[in-house]
Amino acid sequence: MDSNKKYWKGLEELQQTPAFVNNSKGEFAEPIPVEDVLNEAGLSTKTPRRDFLKALGFGLGAVTLAACNRTPVHKAVPYVIKPEEITPGIPNFYASSFNGQSVLIRTREGRPILVEANPNAVGLVQGTESGTVSSVLDLYDMTNKLQNPQIGGKDVDWSKLDTTVKQALVKANNANKQIALVSRTINSPSTLQAIAKFKESFPTTNLIQFDPISYSGIRKANEQSFGRAVVPAYNFENALVVLSVGADFLGTWLDGEEHTQDYIKNRNYKSLEGGKMSRHIQFEAGMSMTGTNADVRIAVKPSEEGAVLISLYNEVTGSSLPGALTGNPRAATAVKLAAQELLKNKGQAVVVAGANNVDIQLLTNAINAAIGAYGSVIDLDNFSKKYQGSEESFGTFLADASAGRVGAVMFLNSNPLYDYANAQVVKDALAKIDFTLSFADRADETASELDAIAPTSNYLESWGDESSREGYYTIVQPTINPVFNTRQAEQSLLVWSGNIINIFDFVKNVWETQILAGGTKKWKDVLQTGFEYKGKLGAKAYAFTGNVQGAASNIQAYAQSLAGEGFELALYESPAIRDGRFANNAFLQELPDPVSKVTWDNYVALNPKDMEALGLGENSVVAVEGNNYSVELPVLAQPGQALGTASIAVGYGRTKVGKAGNNVGANAYPFATVKNGAIQTTAKVKLSKVSRTYELAQTQTHHTIEGRNIIRETTFAKYLKNPASESGRFADSHKSYDLWNKFESPGHKWVMAVDLNACTGCGACIVACNIENNIPVVGRDEVRRRREMHWLRIDRYYTIEEDGVDYTKEDDIAKLNDFQNVKVVHQPMMCQHCDHAPCETVCPVLATVHSSEGLNHMAYNRCFGTRYCANNCPYKVRRFNWFNYWNDSRFDNYLNNEFTQLVLNPDVTTRSRGVMEKCSMCIQRIQAGKLQAKIESRPLKDGEIKLACAAVCSANALIFGDANDPNSEVSKALRSERIYYVLEEINVQPNIGYMTKVRNTFEA
């Protein structure tokens, strides 16, 4: 019954290294010099009498002065003319959109403080990714953003800039030279319209769309296969078998969060109770977040990805293309089994591939066509418009510029000197252009090299729109006036082309004449709802017409160029920092990577066996050389990494993004290459050890719980036989005794259920929690000292499985020859609000006490920092404020200036130094929800109160509610047979139930 599997968080725990054992014993990572103070020398130190008297006198004086203070004079300054819609103390919500998702912006007294999903929208309707929820901080990034337009690095006013820019544009236009506008994908109808207006005035204008992380391979492959150059929409809710070859589709690949929302629908507790669970097979080199969630994960080298697809194609269609998988029996077996699965579930299966390679994507299309994925899982008609960048057109622009055919260039949301594979080529090309300008909001790597910067406003200060998919339009509306002298790019384009029109009128006009024309909706309706959806187009039938033979031979050739001596490098995006555009966001930098749990750095992930072979250990640094580029980066032992491969995250190593993001890690973009007009994120590299060492700020073994049995895991087959399998509950098996009286909760009883099957480990909840609860960012050094303040963490546990056998004994594990086959469980861990809380018992000042609603309250003002509670907490969820992080120049990550403090939630206090804090279950939201019900004189509705973490979770892994309401969602969830309570055996009676992790593995 009780699972005896060995779970471990990191290799140091698995191998029980002396440092780990030592650290796990003490409460604090660093020894506290108690002995030094209490030893003989310490005690016999003489305090001179005069000093003593001075101290005494000062103390007495200070205390007296403090006590005699007059009533402090606080000014209360009301509005002169109060805006009708604002009631101080009550939030206002505005519909807007970010990254194509319709969102609601919560504002208080005119300042935006939180971004949440618009529940009535289309697509991603619950939850946002970490980047979206943290984007509100970028608005207040005032110390790094430009406050005025600049020419040649000097502040000027807009009229001066306008004159200069107009002259340059007229000059370029008259000389019949190209005016290039280089941008990320633009899907905004109003921006495109502004560019069209601009082009009317300057006919030589050329719009070049270029994305640093490109999906041009998919578009080209779809053009060759079906005659449609689009990135399709993937509806994972229709897929019972998902096979991914190197695609991190739950994280960074296309619409990761939306995929998560749909994918989980076939795997969460509701689906399981209906007896249904999808099967997910992942082939990949580095351990991605998606890989950690797979039922079966096979480590393959990047050069083998093509071969996997060729083998799969052969198995599925019965053909015999050359270049099938050789030398990886495990993968070969998996491909065979997977092919059977795919064929068995025709029309309910899909294959996705991550490589931005036309041939690989073409072959994937061929397999998908064979298994009937088109029209059910893959939708070519309601396609995504998020990624339309083309490396080819950017290449043409570079060639034109080098040939002197470009008279002026403007960069919009584009930073190629940082994120293009070959920055030198861009630099040389820019030197040949007469006038260069960027719309960047800061002097970034590219903007700082250009003639002028016309800083654009943040999306929270702008009017605009987006259209992330066919027929779907979302509005961007401002929630605050531009804080600095910035002007949004669309307005600048209109001004320069002589269109004297306010951007608001312009956007409104575009909507009224183009998007809303003929419909019943009015502009004001859109401002309220936030979006307009024309409805889903019916799927047409598509016949696959691609050249599979040609693709297979190209794949073979490419694989050969990668294989051979040295390591195969796979570049990837980390789910938090992504392509590096928002690298200055301190919340994202401190969010632990879902797999490695590293913060504030990128690193070279290697298989532990490879590290051993190279003589590398913990904190080693390697030089990575390849593609005429080299960087030095710390290494990380990554279980699950394919042997002979290395993975590095892009998006790091920025130099001109701002205080928080500068010089964090190293830039990996130059390892990429452009082949056949598509960026390839794989390369051949040489690794060599460097003598220096570097300690990564990794949270994985912080707060260890010493091998106690806290994860329960089963397989789908076992679950079908017995839903309670492996849940390990022993409620009836022995008698329990209580030291405490039973707590009554006559009104509400707030509890939570965590579905381990739904949690993908993405960490968006952590960022949402940070923002909602004013949790400080502590910085890399403090994380190394294990002082991160996150109230909610996601523990990631590995287990080893080889050839269908779970290895449980340490001796067996030692005998394994590689660490390629590991399984992962993510477990969100926060205060369990125990009814018999150990922390409450030991608090000498009753600063933490239980409430009648089942919550463990923490009164900060009562706490005087003994830290007994943290020591006594079996879940290690209590955090101690070692400093006044919000008012201490040493922690200048974001909070120490007048602007960034505006992001604080006014309903939650900022904690002082010397005070303990922990998850409050968003008590401010509970209280607000109850009050709303009371004011409206009605019972509280289930689902009305949403915790910040639960609201942001697109997988709905965190289910919160009132256990006293038998019909609430959480009550139903807690009645699931899979429910177990972590460390139930110590009878602290936690209020958070976890559901057994279920895997749909093959052997079962």
């Binding site: 009533t71 509005y79 002169v80 003319i81 609603e853 309250h857 009605r938």
Partner: protein
């Protein structure tokens, strides 16, 4: 002196006014000026003033400009006259930017005549105050005052001299008596001193000898000091009675007391939000657009109301708003610390607590002060005794659960968690 003169000035003014009134009454065929005043204030002041242009023109001299019959018609329904094409009416309408005057068809002829009488009356007053007549009267009065003052002063000096002389005589007589009985007085003094000294010494000696008494006294002293210290310390940071000087002499007594304005008219937030919120200046302008309190300031705008106008950058003469508003910086009276969460709507709407329960008799406060101590003990004491307002459907479930616990007893805020830390501190 000035006071006396102004009093006398006012006296004279009233007298002359009554004279004028008498005159006006005879002139206006015995119309009821008082009723006219009431009607004028309720119906006309929004747009008209006697002496200056507001929305409509200044009314002074209207009886000279138009005959009474015409005025009655005009006031009752000016637009009908314009429509009918009355040349005077059309001209007047056009002169005033085609601003439509409200029709008062419900007013009787007599009532309108009363209004006209009131306007004439006011006009006469206004003409008198700044013009020659009143100035002369004022000067004459101040002369009278000066004579009165001088006579009074002389009288006082004379009286003082008389008193001094009398007192001198008394002193001289007493000195003579002392000189005659010197020896007897000295003997008596010595006797007295001896008696007091020995009594005190005896008492002191007895006290020191009695250890119990000493101990008791010391104990009492210590206890007294301790109690005093304890009380002082408990009141550190308690600012009950705090009454700062505000930038505007705003009187709740006038607004909430005399004029009976509901609290929520200005502090609407108390019913919706955690903040009761100080009203923004535009809320003041809802009334003070027309209420200038000029009758208390000799026809001038109240200097305190002028501060509101300055804040919203409003020019009362042109009735236009500028674009340079300056917010009013009130001094906060009730300061809860940041770590305590208090929500007005919970208490006002849900619990139905009267504003006065915590804020005291605001309607009698000339200047607002902190009525309650705002200490945690004060909060908790109230939560312990206040019964939950169970009319609310929200409590339906709760009551059910609660009755299982407490049969028939009343349910206080404390019983449903009103004392728990996390309800106010998060």
């Amino acid at each position: 002196m000035r006071n006396i003169s102004s009093v006398l000035g006012k006296l004279a003014k009233t007298m002359s006014i009554s004279l004028m009134l008498l005159f006006a009454v005879t002139m206006s065929h015995a119309q009821d000026v008082k009723e006219g005043q009431t009607l004028f204030k309720s119906k006309c002041t929004t747009c008209h003033s006697v002496t200056k242009k507001v929305v409509g023109p200044a009314l002074a001299g209207m009886t000279q400009r138009h005959d009474e019959e015409w005025l009655v018609k005009w006031i009752r329904n000016s637009q009908a006259m314009v429509a009918a094409g009355d040349p005077t009416a059309v001209k007047l309408f056009e002169e005033n930017n085609n601003l439509v005057m409200t029709a008062f068809t419900d007013l009787s002829d007599d009532q309108i005549k009363n209004i006209i009488a009131y306007v004439e009356d006011e006009e006469a007053k206004a003409a008198q105050a700044p013009a020659g007549g009143s100035a002369e009267a004022g000067a004459a009065q101040s002369d009278d005052a000066n004579t009165f003052m001088i006579v009074g002063l002389i009288a006082i000096v004379v009286l003082a001299v008389v008193i001094i002389i009398v007192l001198n005589r008394v002193i001289r007589t007493l000195e003579k008596v002392i000189a005659n009985n010197q020896a007897a007085i000295e003997a008596a003094q010595a006797r007295n001193e001896m008696i007091t000294e020995s009594r005190f010494a005896k008492f002191a000696q007895a006290f020191v000898k009695n250890k119990k008494l000493v101990g008791f006294t010391v104990l009492m002293l210590v206890a007294f000091l301790a109690v005093a210290g304890w009380n002082t310390l408990w009141n550190v940071g308690v600012h009950q009675g705090y009454e700062p000087v505000q930038p505007i002499k705003f009187s709740h007594q006038i607004h909430a007391g005399v004029n009976q304005i509901e609290c929520q008219y200005c502090h609407g937030g108390a019913f919706k939000s955690k903040n009761a919120s100080i009203p923004s200046a535009n809320v003041c302008m809802n009334c003070h657009n027309t209420v200038t309190a000029s009758d208390h300031y000799d026809g001038e705008l109240s200097p305190e109301i002028a501060k509101i106008y300055r804040a919203v950058d409003y020019n009362p003469d042109t009735r236009e708003y500028g674009n340079n508003p300056k917010p009013i910086q009130w001094v906060r009276v009730h300061n809860l610390p940041d770590f305590a969460y208090f929500n007005h709507s919970q208490h006002v709407v849900v619990a139905g607590v009267e504003c006065q329960t915590c804020h005291g008799p605001v309607e009698t406060m000339e200047e607002i002060y902190q009525y309650s101590p705002l200490t945690m003990k004060w909060c908790i004491d109230c939560h312990r005794t206040t019964e939950v307002n169970t009319d609310n459907a929200y409590y339906d479930q709760l009551i059910e659960a609660h009755e299982k616990l407490k049969k028939g007893e009343k349910m206080t805020a404390a019983m449903i968690g009103g004392l728990e830390c996390g309800k106010c501190h998060y």
